[in-house]
């Protein structure tokens, strides 16, 4: 580990004017590990924790939920408005890491965390680190992506990103002294756009707030995370679903997959089939079986497609009940 200077952020403005060799720290649960592993070698670590205004969680009836980027995962899960109106977010929070990590890790940090690919994290000069090879292509790719990959084949590690995308959230970003709002769908990028980062943030840009619109009346939501171990594990695959059914048909809905792509993934073909689809078990099964048709699994991860379809089928059936 390289030694670094550690300073609290004086203001959002000052923090965003950071030098190239400085990094911004939210909870630090990922960042500090990366510094320890020499994946990052900053001169200065600027802790955003001092920006108390970024910790608020506020609910406005009709408008929805505003989550300060520095709210911890635990704070989000324990907020009474969130528990009442956005139980799917509570469900998601409880699947993240471990209680200790949730007490420190923040919502903004969760969205901006770096991938867990063992080549990226290990002593491999891979594409994402500026090298010229993705070692997963003909290597150990059991946990890598089945869709949206190339030239790098990571999966995005955030659980909250999957749920928030299903809820059609937006991110408020402090950029060049101003605030801008970006749909979360436009926030995450694919390696074909840039294989060294996972989102649109430019140096000095800071996610300040996550805005979640009201869940449309009558809609049901679910977050399903599949992991190999019962706790403290990243998603092998995950599903974020919002579904509005009308007796025997789906009025509208949105399905997002995690663990299958370098970003939270919206299978467009699948999602366009939702509106008007019948909710009988046979049809939901065929709907689920049409997920990830464009996937191109690698040598060791074709199971992910079966896994996603199985879990989706079950989730659609469960959500369509009553």
């Amino acid at each position: 580990m390289k030694n670094f200077k550690y300073i609290p952020a004086e203001s959002l403005e000052k923090a965003s004017q950071k030098k190239d060799d400085s990094v911004l720290m939210a909870g630090g649960t990922d960042l500090l590990g990366m510094i320890k592993d020499d994946l990052l070698t900053p001169e200065t670590v600027i802790n955003l924790k001092s920006l108390k205004e970024l910790k608020n969680i506020r609910y406005n009836a009709g408008k929805g939920l505003e989550i300060g980027a520095l709210a911890t995962i635990t704070e989000l899960a324990e907020n009474s408005d969130v528990q009442k109106r956005f139980p799917v977010l509570v469900q998601t929070c409880k699947e993240i890491a471990s209680p200790q990590l949730r007490n420190v890790g923040t919502v903004g940090g969760n969205l901006c965390q770096r991938p867990r690919c063992w080549y990226y994290r290990g002593e491999f000069n891979c594409l994402r680190k500026g090298g010229d090879t993705c070692f997963a292509v003909d290597g150990e790719n059991k946990f890598h992506c089945v869709v949206g990959g190339g030239p790098c084949y990571i999966v995005h590690p955030s659980d909250l990103a999957v749920s928030l995308l299903a809820l059609d959230a937006s991110l408020e970003i402090f950029s060049n002294g101003k605030l801008k709002t970006v749909p979360i769908d436009d926030f995450f990028i694919l390696p074909e756009q840039n294989e060294t980062k996972e989102n649109i943030l430019e140096p000095g840009e800071i996610v300040t707030k996550i805005i979640v619109p009201e869940i449309p009346a009558g809609s049901k939501c679910a977050f399903i995370k599949f992991k190999e171990r019962a706790s403290w594990d990243f998603a092998v695959v995950s599903l974020g679903i919002l579904l509005n059914t009308n007796g025997s048909t789906i009025k509208n809905g949105r399905i997002v997959f995690g663990g299958v792509a370098p970003r939270p993934w919206i299978d467009t073909a699948l999602n366009t089939k939702l509106t008007g689809a019948a909710t009988d078990e046979k049809n939901l099964k065929s709907l689920a079986d049409s997920a990830l048709l464009e996937a191109e699994p690698m040598s060791k991860n074709d199971y992910k497609i079966i896994l996603v379809r199985n879990l989706l089928k079950q989730a659609l059936i469960d959500l369509s009940k009553n």
């Binding site: 580990m1 030694n3 867990r116 063992w118 080549y119 994290r121 290990g122 002593e123 491999f124 070692f135 003909d138 290597g139 150990e140 059991k142 599949f226 190999e228 171990r229 019962a230 706790s231 403290w232 594990d233 990243f234 092998v236 060791k300 991860n301 074709d302 199971y303 079966i306 896994l307 199985n310 879990l311 089928k313 079950q314």
Partner: protein
Amino acid sequence: MANTKFIKSEFFFEEDVRESVAEVPVDKHQPWPENEKLKVVGKEIPRIDGYDKTSGTALYTFDINLPHMAHAKILRSVWPHARIKSIDTTQAENLPGVLAVITHKNIPEIKWFEDSFLFDTKIRYEGEEIAGIAAETEEIAEKALKLIKIEVEELDFTVDPGQAMKETAPKIHEGGNIVGGNPFTYERGNFEEGIKNADAIIEETYSTQVVVHNPTEPHCSVANWDGDKLTVWDSTQAIFTVRGVVSRALNIPENNVRVIKKYMGGGFGSKLAGGKYTVIAALLAKKTGRPVRLTLDRREMNLAVGNRPDSVQSLKLGAKKDGTLTAMSHYAYGSSGAYQSGAGCSWPFRTVYQCPNVKVEEYTVYINAGPGRPFRAPGHVQGTFAMDSAIDLLAGRINMDPLEFRLKNYAEKDQVYNIPYTSKKLREAYEAGAKAIGWEKRNKQPGVGTGRYKTGIGMGTQIWWGGGGPPAYVTLKLNRDYSVEVLAGSQDLGTGTYTFVAQVASEVLEIPMERISVILGDTGVVPYGPPSGGSVTSPSISPAVRDAAEQMKQKLMKAAAAVLSLKENDLVYKNGTVSSKSDPSKSIFLSDIMGKINEPVLVTTGAREANPEGYMIQTFGAQFADVEVDTLTGKVRVKKIVAAHDIGRVLNRTLLENQFHGGIIQGIGFALMEERIIDGNTGKVLTTNLHDYKLPLITDMPEIEVIIVSEGDPMISNTGVKGIGEPAHIPTAAAIANAIFNATGVQIKSTPMTPDKVLMALSQNS
């Protein structure tokens, strides 16, 4: 010490049968009655070091902090196979705070594994030691590592044992990649003939992964010189082994090396050998003239301090319609790593089930990866997984209940040596375990359940030596104030040695546990005892403790007879007081006896007696698993494990359950999630942290029920104790595998049985 004699003795340690001549006591003590009639032994007594550990006052090796202590790190190879052309340490040496740098260039040649050295110019695996650095702080030492410039010639490597066995594979040692040049072979009867007589035959290949010990406490040594005398604090399972290794490496006599280990956070076999890091710490301490602490980090622990070798096992079994096994063959290979270790796994196969015609051929293969080390029942875990999976398959072929099949082929004698067992209560274990798990609830037809979650019940059989034996000595010191110190040539790995030693002394001398202290893990102080591996500690040490304590009691009786002018046979000992049977008014407390004979401290030395000649000592058991398989995801949840075992006498019920819990947790890890993964293209290990190397967590734990069907084995020793550390771990994976088979009707033939494998197997089956 009482009268002793020298006898021929057999001793099983890990996979080795060691025949030796051993000094043993002539007089045998009466066997103890069953635990129910004992006062301290066998009871649920909390560990005596429990408070120190939970309060944080217990000193582990890392806690040793000496004045002026320097901190060391090891430079390790990033290449799987290479030849060092040059090393330049100038920059590292010039970094402020760096105190010493050692490489092959500036220390004497120290022989290590086979044809290699402490620092070798040929690198055979990623993680191999290249240099050591001592600095004012660990951080400086780490920085300095990066300043060492190394030029290498990279060599072709091989990290797959199947590939490494081929003629064309890169050679890791001059003699080729098959350890010893030849396979281990074993044969009895006529296998081909046996197959001809079979009504049903199965032929399957099973494979198991490399797993890494990953004890909670890292490997750590602190070295301090005082003139020519070296003291090493070391996190080790074998203080005397470490002393020997350090003395040979540094070419100094053993009396100049003192190895100390008080408390330890697990080893599981990875701390059975003397480590290079210990010698490196001693060399750096010498060079700097300061004490040196060297601690490995998690990455180093996953690269360089041992693992359980993998295995590919091809089995062919034949049986008659009535279930009689007629023939069994086992062809296997497994990776040793870059240096010699044992990958053999056929012992259970050769001996658990009655079969006249058995053939075994197994290869241990060098690959460019960290060398294996014994890991909690080496060979048996992987061997039992394959063997018991095949047994269930074969039983299914002839529509026979797998438990009935096992009972049909119950071996009354050891089949390899053709000798009787001192005791074998496997039948009782089968019966008790089956009852506790509800064996009758299992699917009569595997996989018949419907719905998302399918449940099943399966079992596995356990065999392991665990009888211990001589030499093992104990010194007991009785103080005039009615307090005791017991010094045993052993070490407590966290298993509870401190506690059971005190219990045995307390039982015999009828002195309360609070007045007994136990000193272990210090070669400068304790008499010799065996390394703590092979489940030999309690069966070797507890009889020596009893011997020392019984001698002490006899000494007190003799002295009391003299003091009271009474005949010895008229005296009884109770709670520290010796009284006359004929005239109870005549009695004397031990403090007064010792006062009269002017002895402030009485000393006795006890020894482990010999094992009986012509008998095989084994532990036995069966574990039963109740599992639930999520057919949508392939995830297996172990709901319950019943462990029913014959392990001789229980010394402490609480510690016994701890051992079972640990063994079963590790068994679940092996069965379902742990795996060292190497990237085949670069030869580098991918799972060097505890995120990628998945250990089971508390939420993965099932309900565990432990049943002991034995009450002491009087033939083996005066306490009748057998070891339990390894038996607890052996059959868990096999039981889980068979439960998955019973739940789904699909056999998963490769561990870890991760969701991807289970899901793919289910989807190919449907």
